[in-house]
Amino acid sequence: MKYRTIYARTTVNGEVQPPYVQEILDNGSTDYTGSTLPTVDQNGDSVSIEYISKRTYDEFWNKENKIIEKYAEEAEKNQKEVEKLNEKLKASVVKKLVSGEKLTEEEAKFVAGSLDL
């Protein structure tokens, strides 16, 4: 059996989707260039498949991975800030509960969230 790797992206109901890698059992008779005519798939959607080069595939994912990386960096930064804020809230809540002081709304929400209330 002869296998071949191809790159493709699908247009579903007119909307172009991110490209993907496909490994096929190559019978030598199917043309994997250009685009297929829209066909109705098993879900009833109109689907056409465009066969693309590895270069086009890589270009898309290099760009996309940079966005994903950026989102991850921002999330990590924000997550640290949340953790810092949580530590701060924890300290003030404990202090206020021990001394019988009234909690702020933010502190009360923190307690409720922590206790899964």
Binding site: P18, Q22, E23, L25, D41, Q42, W61, A75, V82
Partner: protein, 267 residues
């Protein structure tokens, strides 16, 4: 001629036995004559000839499958031979009838539908005639948006290479693996387009929670029947649905690859 030495009338007693019969009175004008009686009802006709008794040869009649020859004599003994059509597949060996299979390459679809191994061994194969694996990465999703966003769409078309038989396609769909960090009260869902299949759903309730899941087979089955020479296309879109924007900016999600495997068999 047998004579008893008597005069006009002979007093000798002459008696036949079985098929040998004596006729006549022994008189000159009516001598004793010995002859052989033959039974007209006998299955094999016997006749008395000047050279002796003669038994007629056996009649033979061939059938569609056996050819009979000979008349049962030493010179031409009875012989039966099988009639083979076509010759080559079945033959008469020293131990009896035997099947002689031609080389496997002479069978139509040899090695694909019919497998011939060794002598007299034929088995039917259920060959895998079409196969594909689609691997998709997940696109970037905005976790600060309480919407449903596409992670990936995988499509594949399998064509039945046979011009005579039906191909059955078994799809196996595997989800994206993921790691999610959800802040505050939130709910995320990994699903197929339109929520047809709910793959995973997680809800956070505390200040921050972490969830992780490996790639799972979320759909296997529903064999698709593909007519001879026809094609089938299957496409699957996996989505992330974010229910609220709670924790915006601090939420994080990373996804592994998803897969779709299509296997086509002729059975």
């Amino acid at each position: 001629m047998a004579r008893c030495g008597c005069g006009g009338t002979c007093n000798c007693t002459v008696q036949g036995s079985g098929a040998f019969v004596i006729s006549g009175t022994g008189d000159q004008n009516d001598p004793y004559v010995g002859s052989i009686n033959t039974n007209p009802a006998s299955p094999l006709p016997i006749s008395s000839t000047p050279s002796g008794l003669t038994v007629a040869g056996v009649q033979v009649q061939s059938s569609n499958c056996i050819t009979l020859t000979g008349n049962g004599s030493t010179a031409s003994p009875l012989a039966a031979a099988p009639r083979l059509d076509p010759t080559g597949l079945l033959s008469c060996g020293v131990n009896g009838l035997k099947v002689e299979l031609p080389a496997s390459t002479s069978y139509p679809n040899a090695g694909r539908l019919i497998n011939v191994s060794g002598t007299y061994q034929i088995s039917v194969k259920y060959p895998l005639v079409a196969y594909t694996t689609v691997t998709a990465s997940a696109a970037a999703v905005n976790l600060a948006s309480a919407t449903t966003q596409n992670l990936s769409t995988m499509s594949a078309t399998l064509t039945n290479p046979s011009s005579t038989e039906i191909m059955y396609v078994l799809p196996i769909l595997q989800s994206h693996s993921f790691e999610w960090t959800m802040v505050n009260v939130n709910a995320w869902y990994l699903q197929t387009a339109g929520g047809t299949n709910m793959i995973a759903a997680f809800t956070s309730t505390g200040a921050g929670e972490y969830f992780g899941m490996g790639s799972i087979n979320f759909y296997t089955g529903s064999v698709i029947s593909v007519a001879a020479g026809a094609s089938t296309t299957l496409s699957v879109t996996q989505q992330l649905r974010v229910r609220t924007t709670s924790g915006s900016g601090s939420n994080a999600a990373s996804f592994g690859a998803a897969r779709m495997i299509l296997m086509g068999w002729i059975v």
